[in-house]
């Protein structure tokens, strides 16, 4: 959200709003220069992927007012789509005919199930990793938003749907790898470039996707449709009486958010080298909510940084024995504090500080040069 004095042109405003986003992307791209450690870069790439996932939640929660507690469902669907494609590219030692995945052989499956067939194509898998979550979200959204389900009920329905899918995946071991997930994957290879989880190529692939998702989300929130979605968040029925079909806007932002989460899920498989039912688990899904709230759900960059930093600190701390168990407490306390004192997260705090600085400068500048245009804002 931005505050602008009418003298500032649209382009000027855009620059100010885009600046934090581009700075963060530049830092992400520059990190390998400073951090010459492939093991750590892989870890950072993991946090960046979680950042994308959190941006996707920010889009539906912070901008659309739809608190999706099952955001990890889309993430998991994307993750499995990628894992299925990469599994079919492996040359396992003990497989059945036609490179049947090893866990299917163990479960006495003799031929590849029909829904695995299309995943022989990587292009199909990459498309499915985003389209399937988007379609599932659109279908779920159609029922919820057409039926005018709002607030906590949306959260319960999305959470429950995710849990059901999670249980189905665990239950259908012969087709999904069950509790173990899908492991022993081939390396992703696009146009001859191999994406080793610990290689620079993967890091830059993730960084590129970070930038892409932030820009797509930014472009949407800046559009007129994005404005209408925020209006729906503030007062749903008011929007309806201006002639907008509210449900369609909600379905759109819900599906867009799911597609971005699906992209993050695919990258997660590449970075982690497996897919697991925990990727669409309750714990991850709720963690995303916390990261989003801490970073600032109404700020794309805030949500992204919230995930990267909190998950990063969590990763570092949970390696020491002292914090392994207490981390959950630390995170819970952080969440409570933010909800109580920073309803817009740290991004809201940063915006307030920035506004204060600009205003002071403006007041000081006015004494010397009256009429200096004042521009405030942040993405």
């Amino acid at each position: 959200m931005s505050l602008n004095v009418s003298t500032s042109s649209g382009l000027q405003r855009l620059t100010v709003q885009l600046a934090p986003l581009l700075i963060v992307c530049a830092l992400v791209f520059a990190l390998p220069v400073l951090l010459n450690n492939d093991f750590l870069l892989n870890k950072v790439a993991r946090y960046l992927v979680l950042g994308i996932l959190t941006v996707s939640l920010g889009l539906s929660w912070g901008f659309g007012g739809i608190l999706n507690l099952g955001q990890a469902m889309s993430f998991g669907l994307g993750s499995y789509a990628m894992a299925m494609a990469l599994k079919l590219k492996t040359v396992p030692v003990h497989t059945g005919a036609d490179g049947l995945p090893d866990f299917m052989v163990w479960n006495n499956v003799t031929s590849l199930p029909w829904f695995w067939e299309p995943f022989r194509s990587l292009t199909f898998a990459v498309a499915a990793g985003m389209v399937v979550p988007a379609l599932v979200a659109a279908a779920l959204g159609w029922f919820m938003f057409r039926g005018r389900v709002t607030g906590v009920y949306v959260s319960i329905i999305t959470l429950a749907t995710m849990v059901v899918l999670n249980l189905v995946i665990i239950d259908q071991q012969s087709y999904t790898g069950g509790f173990n997930g899908i492991t022993d994957l081939a390396q992703l290879e696009i146009f001859g470039v191999a994406f080793d989880a610990y290689g620079r190529a993967t890091y830059y692939l993730v960084s590129g996707c970070v930038m892409l998702s932030l820009l797509v989300a930014f472009a949407f929130t800046r559009s007129r449709a994005g404005l209408i979605v925020q209006a729906i968040r503030d007062h749903e029925s008011r929007v309806r009486y201006f002639g907008y079909d509210v449900a369609l806007y909600q379905i759109f932002v819900f599906a867009l958010s799911a597609a971005i989460a699906g992209l993050a899920g695919m990258l997660y498989t590449v970075v982690m080298e497996f897919a697991s039912p925990t990727f669409l688990g309750v714990q991850l899904s709720l963690s995303v909510v916390v990261w989003c709230a801490v970073g600032g759900r109404q700020s794309l960059v805030g949500a992204f940084l919230g995930a990267v930093l909190v998950a990063g600190v969590q990763g570092a701390l949970s390696e020491s024995a002292a914090f392994l168990e207490t981390w959950t407490l630390v995170m819970g306390a952080l969440f409570v504090l933010v909800v109580l004192f920073l309803p817009k997260g740290f991004a809201g705090l940063a915006q307030a500080v920035w506004r204060w600085i600009v205003q002071r400068r403006h007041v000081a500048g006015q004494e010397v040069t009256p009429g200096v245009s004042q521009t405030e804002g942040s993405t």
């Binding site: 505050l3 602008n4 009418s6 800046r222 404005l227 209408i228 029925s237 008011r238 009486y241 369609l248």
Partner: protein
């Protein structure tokens, strides 16, 4: 002259309570109609029926020859009906200009609105609207910063931005100072003629200042219709307001 809005035998009941009981009302094009009546007479319910918030259990609502009673709210809005709510309803976290921008619903489809407006082409129009409702200074502030009266005006401004043929106003001056009420009356006089207005109001001074014809509702039915003087002289109306010393004190 043919009527612009026609309610015929409209009934609706909530848990057995007949909020509207065969209500009839017709409003001419460009007219400013005031709707008054004691509490619980069904004034707000009548507006809810017209804009689709509540579906009638019987009867028809015809607007410009189109039956509205089976349409969804957004379809009714697209047909040219705008509604201001009793509780001021604005987008609190959006700025005043963004509020007005959303209300200017030229295109309503999702994909039609996936576009940027870098040149800020609607800005001039928004500035004119803000001037009309006296919010020029507040254009770039979030709507949550506005006073109660200013919030009322913002919503009125949003209805002007929507440019609906028929504007329904539910107690537009509630919570306004005398001066603000006077300015609102001036604004309504300017809207009259270009738009058809139906205004629910309690403030009789305001009603007398703006209204051509006043409709008095009582127990879900139309009790009387006429000019302020005619209505005040009407014996049924006096009886409906019995004990409150005439409608001027209602």
């Amino acid at each position: 002259m043919t009527s612009h809005l026609d309610l015929r035998d409209v009934s609706v009941s909530f848990n057995g309570f007949k909020a509207l009981n065969a209500l009839n009302m017709s409003v001419r094009k460009g007219e400013l109609r005031c709707l008054i009546g004691p509490n619980g007479a069904g004034k707000t319910t009548a507006l809810d029926i017209i804009c689709g918030k509540i579906k009638p259990s019987a009867g028809t609502v015809i607007f410009s020859g189109t039956p509205l009673q089976d349409l969804e709210e957004h379809e009714i809005a697209r047909a040219g009906v705008g509604r201001k709510f009793q509780v001021p309803s604005v987008f609190r976290e959006l700025t005043v200009s963004e509020n007005l921008e959303v209300a200017r619903a030229r295109r309503t489809g999702v994909f039609d609105n996936l576009r940027w407006d870098l040149r800020n082409s609607g800005r001039e129009h928004v500035e004119r609207l803000a001037e009309l409702v006296g919010l020029t200074e507040q254009l770039d502030r979030p709507a949550s910063y506005l006073s109660h009266g200013q919030t009322q005006w913002l919503e009125i401004g949003m209805l002007v931005a929507q440019d609906a043929e028929l504007i329904l106003m539910d107690e537009p001056t509630a919570g306004m100072t005398a001066q603000e009420t006077r300015k609102t009356a001036e604004l309504f006089a300017r809207l009259k003629g270009k738009h058809t207005l139906v205004v629910v109001e309690h403030d009789m001074g305001f009603v007398k200042a703006i209204g051509d014809i006043i409709s008095v509702m009582h127990m879900g039915q139309m009790l009387a219709e006429g000019t302020a003087a005619e209505v005040e002289a009407h014996s049924d109306v006096r009886r409906a307001y019995l004990g409150s010393g005439g409608i001027s004190n209602a």
